[in-house]
């Protein structure tokens, strides 16, 4: 059973269906006991970093999520990926879940913001499960990006600057783009996460 953390930030119908299509049972919940029972934790989210942090704190989810990230396969998607980092600078300063070291800062680019649309992935060396997604296009919608150590970056996209697309620290993964909106490639990336998580 995959648990999608439902904390009031954005619609999760597509994320949920994407996992169901891969043959998994899915539960949408902000209940800690339910999250503890799940095989995988998915933290989605659309909106601002600060608002999301407030929602998580108000529901008493911060400490449980930090603990679960040590225990089982964990995936943050879009804003959920950004929340994995230490600090965010959207709408002022706020503390994230601090599971992966790094900050969330406005993208510095000459191109239009938000960074919206289909962009190609460059997969870093040494990430075999994701190699087949080299040069594949995925759908991004965001204005802020992760600034983190290269060793946590699995894949990135070029947008006048290097934008991290997939990050990883041990069993914790983050995906900046929307795999649930990225067609078959996106579904394939979710599948790769599920397979990696089982190791």
């Amino acid at each position: 059973m995959i648990a999608i953390v439902d904390y009031g930030m954005g619609n999760v119908a597509s994320v949920s269906t994407a996992f169901k299509r891969l043959g998994y049972e899915v539960i949408l919940t902000d209940n800690i006991a339910e999250l503890e029972k799940a095989s995988h934790i998915i933290l989605p989210g659309v909106g601002s970093f600060q608002a999301a942090v407030e929602e998580i704190n108000n529901r008493g989810l911060k400490e449980p999520l930090q603990r679960l990230a040590n225990e089982k396969p964990f995936l943050g998607i879009c804003l959920g990926m950004q929340l994995l980092f230490s600090e965010g600078y959207e709408a002022g300063f706020s503390k994230g879940l601090d599971i992966i070291p790094g900050t969330i800062e406005k993208i510095e680019t000459e191109y239009l913001l938000p960074h919206i649309g289909w962009n190609a992935l460059t997969i870093k060396k040494g990430h075999q499960p994701f190699q087949s997604f080299q040069d594949k296009h995925v759908y991004f919608v965001h204005s802020y990006q992760a600034k983190t150590d290269d060793k946590f970056i699995v894949a990135s996209a070029e947008y006048g600057t290097e934008v991290p697309g997939i990050v990883q620290k041990e069993n914790v993964f983050g995906i900046q783009f929307h795999p649930e909106k990225s067609g078959e490639v996106g579904v394939g990336i979710l599948k790769a996460f599920l397979q990696e998580g089982q190791k």
């Binding site: 619609n11 119908a13 597509s14 919206i116 962009n119 296009h137 070029e158 947008y159 929307h178 996106g186």
Partner: protein, 252 residues
Amino acid sequence: MIVKRIIPCLDVKEGKVVKGTNFVSLRELGDPVAMASLYSKHGADEIIFLDISATNEGRQTMVDIVKDTAENVFVPFTVGGGVRTIDDVTRLLKAGADKVGMNSAAVANPELITESSLRFGAQCIVVAIDAKRFEDGWHVMTHGGSKDSGIDAIEWAKTAEQKGAGEILLTSVDTDGVKDGFDIELTKTVVDAVRIPVIASGGCGTPEHFSEVFEKTDVSAALAASIFHEETFSIRQVKDSCKKQGVNIREA
């Protein structure tokens, strides 16, 4: 780099896909969710639904279609048509739409753009502009392209951006349904006047019309309806043609 998007548009009336020529004489085509799903499998980069229902029942049906689409289609989709209030925007986004388009209501009340953009983020607010050429320039047409607002379309595009629009869906009323190519001059003028993505619409009849609008303007996306619905050309053919012309597109 970001690719140029190829977007099929589905005009939906009372729950069924239809397409008009010059905004009149509709004919029924099919099931919106099935068609959107098929287009996404064929490589559409995004889907746009335009709800042209005249009844409340029709609008409610659209919400159900949006829910169904969110569960069955794995590319982003936009819903426009009949969006009048922030409640309409909320209802469609909550049902699972990635973006919401607004047209006449935004012209009547530009604050609707600001209010929606502040609440949900500019990335999900699309302002649709129907423009028609007059002696003194392009005017914004409202009510399905039938009513001249007297407002300059280029100025309105700039205002929409300032008010918080994340994208402009630009339809040329002059070329719509004519199948003789996109309105290059109008598209170029609007694209050069704003710093948000613009989707060109109206007039596409062949795959080459797509590559032409991408070559001659900096437009981010282009939309067509009938050439796809009538199976005159497939999305694959459009992408092959664009690729041959050196347009950066997504291989799907």
